[in-house]
Assembly symmetry: C2
Homo-oligomer: 464 residues x 2
């Protein structure tokens, strides 16, 4: 008999028909007259209740049906007396696919996230991680839909790169060299002509530079791929391997870029509210009581648009009025997290898009303003998580770009292709980067970035 | 004035209204009375014709408008006398964003794909590569839509892995170790406790094993991410870095798996025919005259389902009747490309799903049939490109799986988590892998895999 997913069975009201459900046992309660089995197959956070009248299934089989066991149930669809679901299954027969001993690590309820991280392969079967992973899926779908509907093309920037000027962080080396017999030149310097790619290569820290090549040909592209930082950061907000979304658009100015950022992120949040209700309600109840309210808040508010200079004025005014910050906030300083949070959570109480930063705290490729002091960078700052998006209009003028590259001594060896975009039919363009896991943190209310990706890679940890 | 994308302008019939288009000049023809500029912005393969009456734009500006230059045009939308497009733009003014000198490498028409590969950053602006990249985007969208509509969750398997049993190919090492000062133990063996992850790590060659963890929790997942093989294969069909799609489903049997494979690939091909018509017609005309016919053929045919044993019988029969193959095809041999092509292109003349291979030519994790000789593997063989999908039902029985692992001496160090899926509530499951670029080859008619990914990574080549 054809299996029906539990998400569909729970909505079905064609009572009396035969159904077959398969999944993993969440709980099994027995009494003399009847057994109740809560079954989950990952298609929804909700379990289907299987009612087994005494005598339907032999006692030996019933004993095998412990938490974590995998079974298939055929029976009749009946109306559920329980709230919140239409239907349950009146069991006629059970097939046991896989037993689950009492040493099952996800046996008990109420285990900590730290404990479950050691069993990342099995935590996926729990309510919380099931919810997070289904929301993660939905956010990826929302992202692809948004860009597809808006005429952006998905563009695969390379993962292995020979360029070392991306500048966004420390890099992992990628090699096929025999480390026991490293070829060196007469000065003792390692030679890479016998490495797989014939030169020294690393894992990408950003697809932006290649994304610019795409945008200046296809008009509007976005990347969505893994990105790597070899920083030894053991924090709840850093991963060594994470997924990043980087749209890049030709013929865009700073205002259009801010519109895109705001529209995009609202689309994602709305998608979650529209498509992940059951999972969000679970997380709202057990992980973060203000989650749904905060998501709805983002949709209601028009994001504040604020120059860095104006932001610093507000912060300095606050200090004058007695507000204490740990770090100074003079014009030219990189704002600290406490400053951003003050602006977003206390002063404006809504998301803020900050623009026009001092050039020396931003990357070399950002478009210089006429004041010669600030660049057209734009960060979107969110309550609780701080910077969620960082973007900019790019410097499209060859001479201005070169002069910044020289002033900063950016290593541009092998970067002729990037400069070519400014030589041949250069065009105004811009884009932004969004850390996918930062978005998932915001949308799930989870606190640790290791808990919103299936198998986190962090210093000293690459299990699974 | 707000810019309109050329894809939209060409369809618009509200003649007389003001429009603004921006893009790169494909051609510029001048006569005394009028200039014609063909402008492309990457949103479509089609150019918009800009008509510039004499006197509208000064001669100095017109001289700057060479092939490859980037310009913005404002003017009136007018009906086009040309076939195949509704509208053109009657120019009122032109802004030049970026000049393009005569040293522009994409200046000339008819350059070879080999030549263009050297300029992978600029080839994106040509008709062929624009078409390929838009189709590539559409195939990615089709894949996400298909799985989302069918209740699969997008699952990010890790890129950096510490396991070495995936067995699908040679691996790239990932390290932050200082190669000039490698820590070694007393036997001279390199020690990895000071490496970033505290152990030796590599780039993944397949996300399947982690995908199985996802499927046995969420029910049905798919991966879609970069995958790496460090084989020194300089062929038109191999990349060192490519994108792979790997769905994995709980509670699936061999027949359902074949249904999924066939339905999925037909959905993708249909999506291309429905959504990429202009690009396909271009490729059909200039790259492969049988492209559209071949794509339509896939939709019309029911794929042949054939056991390996039956396939070998057909091949041996053909040999008896005088067919010459380079390689032998005895039961137990891995079929060569010539054998697969004979079955698909000559014997059946339609796609073939081959199943039930001898266990020793397939991976350790495939489900053993009752004959103890064959496994439930399934390869989808396509005309022209051969194997496009490889999949199997997985061995879910712990003892049988362990006995294969031991018989083959598969290195399962650190693989306790994989075996746990068979220990705790094991379930029948299966899945397949599709090389994304192989699909793009099929759907575009391109011959070299380096021409269907923006920036190919191959031996001795990691430019851009």
């Amino acid at each position: 008999m054809k299996r029906t997913k539990i998400v569909d069975v729970l909505k079905d009201t064609e009572y009396g028909k035969d159904v077959c459900v398969k999944g993993w046992v969440r709980t099994h309660r027995s009494s003399k007259a009847v057994d109740f089995i809560a079954l989950n197959d990952g298609s929804t956070i909700k379990n289907v209740q299987v009612v087994v009248d005494a005598g339907t299934v032999d006692d030996e089989t019933l004993k095998l049906i412990t938490t974590g066991a995998c079974i298939g149930v055929t029976g009749k669809l009946v109306e559920s007396p329980a709230k919140g679901q239409a239907s349950e299954v009146h069991c006629e027969s059970i097939e046991v696919y896989g037993l689950c001993g009492s040493d099952y690590p996800m046996q008990k309820k109420g285990q900590t996230f730290e404990y479950m991280r050691q069993y990342a392969h099995l935590r996926l079967r729990t309510n919380t991680f099931g919810a997070v992973m289904r929301i993660r899926h939905n956010m990826a779908i929302a992202i692809h839909r948004y860009f597809h509907e808006h005429g952006f093309f998905y563009f695969h920037s390379p993962i292995v790169t020979a360029s070392d000027c991306e500048g966004a962080g420390q890099m992992f080396q990628v090699t096929t060299k025999n480390l026991y017999d490293l070829k060196k030149d007469e000065d003792g310097k390692i030679v890479y002509d016998d490495d797989f790619f014939g030169k020294q290569t690393s894992l990408t820290v950003s697809g932006q530079l290649e994304g610019e090549l795409g945008a200046t040909a296809l008009g509007a592209i976005y990347t969505f791929g893994p990105t790597f930082r070899a920083e030894n950061s053991n924090t709840p907000r850093h991963l060594a391997e994470f997924w990043m979304i980087e749209p890049e658009v030709a013929f865009i100015d700073l205002n259009d870029l801010m519109d895109l950022e705001e529209d995009f992120i609202k689309y994602c949040v709305k998608w979650a509210l529209d498509n992940c209700r059951d999972d969000l309600e679970f997380l709202n109840q057990f992980v973060d009581k203000t989650l749904i309210q905060r998501l709805e808040g983002v949709l209601k508010e028009t994001f504040v648009r604020l120059t860095y200079t104006k932001g610093v004025e507000i912060l300095q005014e606050a200090v004058k009025n007695g507000k204490k910050f740990e770090f100074p906030c003079n014009w030219g300083d990189d704002l600290a997290s406490e400053h951003e949070r003050y602006l977003v959570e206390e002063y404006f109480k809504k998301p803020v898009i900050m623009t026009d930063y001092p050039k020396d705290i931003k990357a070399f490729y950002m478009k210089l303003n006429d004041d010669d002091k600030t660049v057209q960078g734009t960060d979107v700052l969110f309550p609780q998580i701080g910077e969620i998006i960082g973007g900019s209009v790019r410097e499209e003028n060859f001479e201005k770009l070169m002069s910044e590259i020289e002033r900063r001594e950016v290593p541009m060896k092998d970067m002729w292709w990037y400069l070519d975009t400014r030589k041949y039919g250069t065009c105004p363009h811009g884009g932004f980067g969004l850390g996918f896991e930062r978005l998932i943190l915001f949308v799930t209310g989870m606190q640790n970035i290791r808990d919103v990706i299936p198998f986190p890679r962090t210093p000293k940890s690459a299990d699974f």
